[in-house]
């Protein structure tokens, strides 16, 4: 069980009910609640073009992980998710280029935190679907095994055995299957023109060779089913969603007219609870901007309920079972 965060945390709010924040147990069923941390810093963004204050981002990240894990220090928090012997894959999301991809700064901050937690630099791999996508988002492709590496599936390759679950049959990235023992999922918070939203679960489309096959029917049940592929389900331990700048319409490409500076990171180990929280944030913003809810424009992310159902059990989409912890 996560421990309570230290009493001197700056501020806590729950979005659900005014229960004690970290009594993360539902007394009715004794099923632990899923904790989602929304870590916010109004000064983390230096300009609306997306430039961030790296020091503040690093602190925000560590505050977030400490609050999520409920530990006395960020280092202990990281150690809840990774061990020094792990090979850690950082699954970024770079399809939208520099405007709306996982940032180099966040990725570097995580690399630093992991090393402080004892992970060896050569055991960190920043990874996405294609090296071109990484480069377009500002990353440099690195294959030198003596330091943190960075490359796409075009370099890492795919497994040769087809993996299947429910509606999906795919070849899975060898970086995920063979090279890494743990995956930290690093999506960005954004609207998606087909699937409704793309946050934690959908980011793993980048781990399979045929994501184009899974955009039918608003991504349902494909988004949930891809995450059920055994190596994906077992290795993704933590999601850190970049919401420094987020997008509420027009995604997945970068559409600056529909972006807003949210100046936050969203952290959680339950990808369904994190997606649910992200979805609500996007719906709130759409409402504020006078846009229709996603369901009204044919993009209700119904795959979220599927991900939470008895067959999948990837997490919870029940707001009563999600503790949203906001830290500022």
């Amino acid at each position: 069980m996560p421990k309570s965060p230290p009493a001197d945390r700056r501020q806590f709010l729950t979005a659900t009910v005014a229960l004690p924040l970290l009594s993360a147990v539902d007394t009715k069923s004794s099923v632990p609640k899923s904790r989602i941390v929304v870590a916010h810093d109004p000064d983390v963004l230096l300009s609306l073009s997306g430039r961030v204050d790296s020091n503040r981002l690093y602190r925000l990240l560590n505050d977030g992980i400490q609050a999520l894990a409920g530990t006395d220090s960020p280092r202990e928090g990281w150690q809840r998710f990774v061990r020094p012997a792990d090979v850690v894959g950082l699954k970024v999301n770079c399809l939208a280029g520099k405007g709306l991809s996982t940032s180099v700064q966040l990725t570097e901050a995580i690399e630093q935190c992991l090393q402080e937690a004892g992970v060896r630099p050569e055991n960190i791999i920043v990874w996405d679907r294609h090296s071109n996508d990484l480069e377009n988002a500002g990353f440099r492709v690195v294959t030198d095994r003596r330091r943190p590496r960075c490359y796409g599936n075009d370099i890492g390759g795919y497994e040769s055995e087809l993996m299947t679950w429910g509606s999906v049959g795919s070849l899975v990235s060898s970086t995920l299957v063979r090279t890494c023992s743990v995956i930290i999922n690093l999506p960005v918070l954004k609207d998606h023109g087909i699937a409704g939203i793309t946050v934690a679960l959908k980011n793993l489309f980048g781990a399979v060779h045929n994501p184009n096959k899974y955009h039918l029917n608003v991504g349902n049940p494909y988004v949930a089913d891809v995450f059920m592929l055994p190596p994906i389900r077992s290795k993704v331990r933590l999601t850190i969603c970049e919401a420094i700048v987020a997008q509420y319409e027009g995604g997945p490409p970068f559409m600056p007219q529909w972006c807003w500076p949210m100046r936050s990171l969203i952290l959680g180990s339950d990808p369904v609870a994190l997606d649910y929280t992200g979805w609500q944030i996007i719906e709130d913003k759409r409402r504020e901007k006078g846009l229709k809810p996603l369901a009204a424009v044919g993009r209700n992310p119904a795959w979220l309920a599927v991900a939470a159902d008895n067959e999948h059990r990837l997490g919870t989409n029940d707001p009563g079972r999600i503790d949203v912890l906001r830290i500022v």
């Binding site: 399809l95 280029g97 040769s160 060779h209 184009n212 039918l216 490409p253």
Partner: protein, 372 residues
């Protein structure tokens, strides 16, 4: 050892530049990177989106995204094909392997495919290329003129666009068919028929024969097993027949899924009514693979039942496929019932045709035949 690139199809099919066919290799380079060309049949939408109008799926695609087939990409509101002149599988096959039984029997077809497909059949035998993206398979760079020249060099009567789905490499098919025509090589297309009417009509003007894989005669099957629709495929069959492009149909008979008497009879009646009795239909044997491994190989009795139903409905040329040595691999004269083309697997054993007529009773045998 990390995972491999997806190029097993090339290993399996003996790629054109492999040791097995070194003579084909001259002047062909492996494609290093994507060679984009603007796609045909799409419309521009606001916010740099596009709508593809090549197949009935009509994918609406955002900037930097691809359609369902995975081989067409939107870049800033312009749609590109990524597979023009990039075949990933090239082989010289007997035309009987397509199968096209009424199209210059005993000749060779220079056969090629690119990555990609606009459906996702659970029983696909070529999923390693059809369900891959172009950058995930090893490809050669081969222009339409080079293909036509290689086909001639290898004494192929035709170029066959096959293995994956030619609809998704439409522009390459079209340009190569034009280049082939100019060099005296015919073109044949092996397709699922899931294409819009306008591009299909235009293609019919350039190719001599089309074989359609009709996967079932029910929308349910198309929805659940193919991820497509039946209706547009039936429309394509009618269009091809009206355009007078030679047409044959393959129906893969899958135990319990598309093999009921009722479905087979409805299919045969539809062919008789809408296309006429002279369109050959091949009932072929299913082998479990890809995502459909829980069903048995089609029993011979099922295939024979399917043929019997088609015969009873008056279809002149119903074949049994993937059963080498079966008498239903032969073509029989619909009038005197004598064999006019005798086959074993892809081999022609004997031909008893005279200028496209039965050598015995002179009844015309539908098809495109060699002279003499």
């Amino acid at each position: 050892m990390p995972g491999r690139e997806l190029h097993s199809e090339i290993n399996r099919r003996t790629f054109v530049c492999s040791a097995a066919l070194p003579a084909l290799c001259a002047g062909v380079a492996f494609a290093a990177s994507s060679s984009r060309r603007e796609a045909q049949y799409y419309e521009k939408l606001p916010n740099q989106k596009i709508r593809c109008k090549l197949c009935p799926r009509e994918c609406v695609i955002d900037d930097r995204e691809r359609g369902y087939c995975g081989v067409r990409e939107n870049e800033k509101g312009t749609y590109y094909t990524l597979v023009h002149s990039r075949p990933c599988s090239v082989h010289v096959d007997p035309i009987e392997k397509k199968p096209l039984f009424h199209f210059y029997p005993g000749t060779l077809a220079f056969s090629l495919a690119t990555a990609g497909c606009n459906v996702n059949c659970k029983f696909c035998q070529n999923w390693e290329i059809s369900q891959a993206r172009p950058e995930q398979v090893r490809s050669a760079e081969m222009t339409p003129n080079q293909v036509a020249a290689l086909a001639r060099e290898n004494e192929c009567v035709s170029i066959a666009y096959t293995y994956s789905e030619p609809v998704v490499f439409y522009e390459y098919v079209y340009d190569t068919a034009v280049a082939g025509k100019a060099q005296g090589v015919k073109s044949v297309v092996i397709s699922n028929g899931y294409i819009q009417d306008e591009p299909l009509r235009r293609l019919c003007g350039q190719v001599e024969a089309i074989k359609i894989d009709l996967k079932a005669f029910s929308e349910k099957f198309y929805r659940e097993v193919v991820n497509g629709e039946l209706k547009p495929v039936l429309q394509s069959l009618v269009t091809i027949q009206k355009q007078k492009t030679w047409l044959e149909i393959v129906y893969l008979v899958i135990p319990t899924l598309n093999d009921s008497d009722q479905e087979l009879r409805a299919l045969s009646q539809w062919i008789q009514r809408e296309l006429g009795p002279d369109v050959p239909i091949h009932f072929t044997r299913f082998h479990p693979q890809y995502l459909l491994k829980n069903l048995p190989v089609t029993p011979l009795a099922t295939l024979e039942r399917a043929k019997k139903i088609a015969d009873a409905e008056g279809l002149h040329y119903a074949y049994i496929g993937n059963v080498p040595g079966h008498p239903a691999e032969n073509t029989y004269c619909p009038r005197c019932h004598e064999p006019v083309v005798e086959r074993t697997a892809f081999m022609i054993r004997k031909t008893s045709l005279r200028n496209g007529t039965c050598a015995k009773c002179a009844a015309p045998i539908a098809g495109r035949w060699n002279k003499g």
